[in-house]
Amino acid sequence: MWPDGTLVMDSQGNLIPTYNQDVIMGFASAFTGWGYYQPNQANGRLPTNFGPPANYTNPMVLVPFHHDLGSKLLLENVVLPPAWGSQADPSSTYFDTYGTADLRQALDSIFSHANVGPFICRQLIQRLVTSHPSRDYLYRVVQAFNENGSGGRGDLQAVLKAILLDPEARSSAAGAQTTFGKQREPLLRATATARAFPPPAALTGSYNQNGSRVVAVSTAGSHRLNNGDVVFLSFTDTSGQPAPASQSYSVTVNGPASFTVNDPALSSGTYTQSPATSISNMVTGTVVVTNVITVNISGHALVPGTPVYLTFLSGGASNGLFQAIWTTANSFAAATAQNNSSSGSALMAKLAGGGYIQRGTTNTISLPIPHGFKPGDRVWVNFASGTAADGAYIVETVPDPKRFTVTAATSVNQTFRGVTVYPLIPPPLVRSGNVLVRLSTWNFGSTDSSLTQTPLYSPTVFNFFFPDYMFPGALGAAGLTTPEFQLTSDTEVALQMNFLAGGLLNNAGNTNGLSSFTSGSGAVALDLGPWMTPANTADAGIPALVDVLATLLTGGSLSPSAKALIVAYVASTARFPYSTPPTATQMRERVRSVVHLLVTSPDFTIQR
């Protein structure tokens, strides 16, 4: 590519390829031998084992025995020489440095190539300013990439400055061109809305759990939450017990500054104790008469023979270890020494959704929430996959709050999901401490089927959008590249509008202005509350409200016609009843209706 992004051609007008299959193979060879992180050998040399366990946090490490020692063709006809002399001698440290130097030179070969500036800068301009930058604009930015003014190449700070301060980004003449601007990609439509209406800062508070699975939270100020709202709670224990799991919770509101949540490590249900009852013992395959305690806990996942620690909150049954001798999907029964009839509510500790990595006889079990174990605690572990044996284990070590190790009887290397842990010790039911309440959980999950785009999860290595994409119709006919229009089919546009509506028009119960993506699940919280004033929401205030929100969301580019339509729709007591003084619900309904129509409008969707 030339520095203005046009393609280099030969004298006959044929494109000149930047690389061919031989170069691809050259780079592939230069990159051979790199694997997951592992420590060096005891003598300080690079490792020899090419099968270390997966490690996604530390940098990759070269295993020189697996590095190609031949020559490698890189870009611009640069050839890395084959290993020579001591470089090809595994006993020499040059054997280690040869492969490392290959990687450095291969990366340098890419970074120093003339295509990188126009390739990267064009896409940065497309993401930040306009979908179809002029060659002049791109050329100016590429100059900043190639040379930042003090001899540096690839200085992104200088590049950003060049992009954002360019006349083509800032002049009103450029902005008025019919070809200018970019579509906000779907995710950015959601985040721009969230940024415009940020939720209140995290609230501090305290928590107290007193003998049941209910954790009571008191906040330092009004939390403005409503039943069913989802928040992220971070617990710090001050009572000498393991703290409850810091994660997303659905709240039950008790008062303006208090709510409760349920401890996720505990499953609750009911029990019935019957003396001298006939029961089919599924462990032995016989029918026996014994004192039976039958527990109903949906999805308990116990199988006959499994030990389980039960806590009884009412009815007088004694807490302790039992063995399930009869099970159905949502019930199980155990023999008990107590010979009286009773019934009440029961709790069972169960930690599901884990996985394990076994190396030799050391099996490291990881769980989605903190387990609170200490070495020596007894647990029962069910493994859904792999050859690890279900059974009772002793916790050997606790590398971090969500992981622990046990010792397996058989030595094998394996990694699987599907682990359920049943602690065989009394669960912590009395504890207290401090809590931080965050309104956004950031638990966005996969939004491919709702937003048509999932953060950090592009479908290919080419990211979400091809820089050359032309959308059929007026844009394609004008020869304009508009990458973000790749997610602009009939289906996708409807899904995107639904996603935005879901973040704004959800949460019927909460009328104080709090709402959230995704569809009220608390992923990214919004707060329309500050806009919900009588001055903003009275019929006479709506035009000014639309103006100020249009400035916030569209940079003032809302067309007068669109404004008129929004005002006519919202400033209507027939459609939006309005009492004096207005209720919170009435004000909320008007503000969110304005915001919803703004963020689904072409003036917001296309950023100019």
Partner: protein, 486 residues
């Protein structure tokens, strides 16, 4: 092109830059002349009365068709097995034999995960096309190695080869797809069509980009309706979209969004009669059970639901407007399943080569195509609908130890009542490294160009001989413009 002021030419470097721009300008001019011819031709192509549909099934990532269609004469099988062992060679005893009516002195079988394709082939509804790929000119091994004549740019690269397959003009920048150009030509046969001739079940794609014809995207459950927005709110939203916009991006976005709202309701009503799963005598597979595995594992089929919706849209498209349908004469559909880029884990390993990731994908393809054919027969439209496979490229014949790498020519399947099935077309490559069909790394040099493959389909679809060269500008470089499989 943007108008722009350049400083006076001061250096050779700048002169070359200007010359390069001029070259781009020429290419753009060529493209628009082609488009002009298309527009003029569209009028001449309006004398069509029957219903026909083309269904593209794109196997994304590059299907290893070396393991889809296998040689079964012992000596040839041995050549195959020697090179592909131990990770990729399908055991000879597991291969599903087929009996083509034509003879090319070879014998063939299918991957063990494809018994349904075996059935369709035996019924004469499925044709096999050998070693087809992107070509700029016919190319022999000697020519390939000598570097002349030209070969397609960026061979073995996913994004480029997908685009070249879908444009069928490998030596030009991807502007329009051949499906889109057919639609430009044939849209005139249904001027009042409520939905576009071009429908995708798998999002934006190059195949269905036309100069004028628009692309309509549906999900596997139909059009997505707006939720939580109705009445006056919906009316206001729609009115904002209907405003005039000077900015081309705003204009285009508003048009799609409004079309989505307006057409969605119409479409969902039209496909409602086929909504029940029990409508289809042979149900479309929603899940696939891994073939030949113990214990079997079930996974969701990405293709089955897409083909089911295609069948429903064919039913609604074909049905007369008086009967609540769209009364269309021509439709083009695009479906896609991914996961074929199996550099690793193509099979679980030696001794288990009949199962694993590739086998699962082929089972999904086989079961999906089978259900689709049965559905077309049930609708009485078997002779009116032709489905065909396409893919980035084939894969290397030798294994990389865990799977196979990016190749070139590959085998393909054409399905339908109009297809002259139970035949093979083209020439099976000689399965030898450095053999007459090899680039030297086990990547087959195509004996048939995608242009020939697609021109044959386009001819059946109704593009007349006078316009064929307009849709496929490179077609005259190849000796057989019609391969005769349909």
């Amino acid at each position: 092109m943007h108008s722009q002021s350049f400083p006076a030419l001061q250096s050779r470097r700048q002169f070359i830059r200007q010359a390069a721009c001029a070259a781009v300008g020429t290419a753009a001019l060529t493209a628009s002349l082609r488009d002009l011819r298309l527009m003029n031709a569209a009028v001449a192509q309006s004398n069509i009365s029957d219903y026909r549909a083309l269904v593209c099934i794109f196997l994304q990532g590059g299907n290893d068709s070396n393991n889809l269609i296998l040689p079964t004469i012992q000596a040839e099988y041995d050549d195959y097995a020697t090179i592909r062992s131990p990770v990729l060679a399908i055991p000879g005893s597991a291969i599903l034999p087929i009996s083509p009516l034509n003879s090319d002195s070879h014998e063939y079988g299918l991957h063990p995960a494809c018994p349904e394709l075996q059935t369709l082939f035996g019924e004469g509804k499925l044709a096999i096309l050998f070693n087809t790929g992107t070509l700029v000119y016919p190319l022999t091994r000697a020519q390939y190695l000598s570097g002349a004549p030209k070969k397609p740019p960026q061979l073995f690269s996913h994004s480029d080869q997908v685009a070249q397959w879908q444009t069928s003009i490998p030596d030009q920048p991807p502007l329009t797809g051949w499906g889109g150009r057919c639609a430009d030509l044939l849209a005139a046969v249904q001027p009042d069509a409520p939905i576009s001739l071009l429908v995708t079940l798998a999002g934006a794609n190059t195949f269905e980009v036309g100069n004028r014809a628009s692309l309509y995207a549906v999900s596997t459950s139909g059009a997505i309706a707006l939720s939580g927005v109705s009445g006056a709110r919906l009316q206001t939203l729609t009115n904002i979209l209907a405003l005039p916009y000077d900015n081309l991006q705003q204009q285009s976005y508003a048009k799609v969004a409004k079309h989505s709202i307006d057409t969605g309701t119409l479409l969902n009503a039209a496909i409602a009669p086929t909504g029940s799963a029990s409508f289809w005598t042979i149900p479309f597979p929603a899940t696939i059970t891994t073939p030949n595995t113990s214990p079997p594992v079930t996974f969701n089929s990405a293709l089955g639901p897409q083909l089911r919706m295609v069948a429903r849209l064919i039913e609604a498209g074909h049905r007369a407007a008086a009967g609540g349908g769209f009364g269309l004469k021509r439709q083009i559909f695009f479906c896609q399943i991914g996961g074929f880029d199996l550099h690793t884990n193509q099979t679980p390993g030696p001794g288990q080569t009949s199962i694993g990731s590739h086998a699962n994908l082929l089972a999904e393809l086989s079961q999906g195509m089978f259900a689709f054919q049965r559905a077309m027969e049930q609708l009485g439209l078997a002779n009116n609908v032709t489905a065909f496979t396409a893919s980035d490229f084939g894969r290397t014949f030798p294994s990389n130890g865990q799977g196979s790498d990016h190749g070139w020519g590959s085998h393909h399947l054409i399905l339908g009542g109009a297809v002259k099935g139970q035949h093979t077309y083209g020439r099976f490559p000689t399965l030898a490294i450095n053999g007459p069909d090899d680039t030297s790394t086990g990547r087959w040099i195509p004996a048939i160009a995608v242009d020939q493959y697609f021109a044959t389909l386009a001819t059946w679809f109704g593009v007349d001989s006078g316009n064929l060269g307009t849709v496929f500008p490179n077609l005259n470089r190849f000796s057989t413009p019609n391969l005769g499989f349909v």
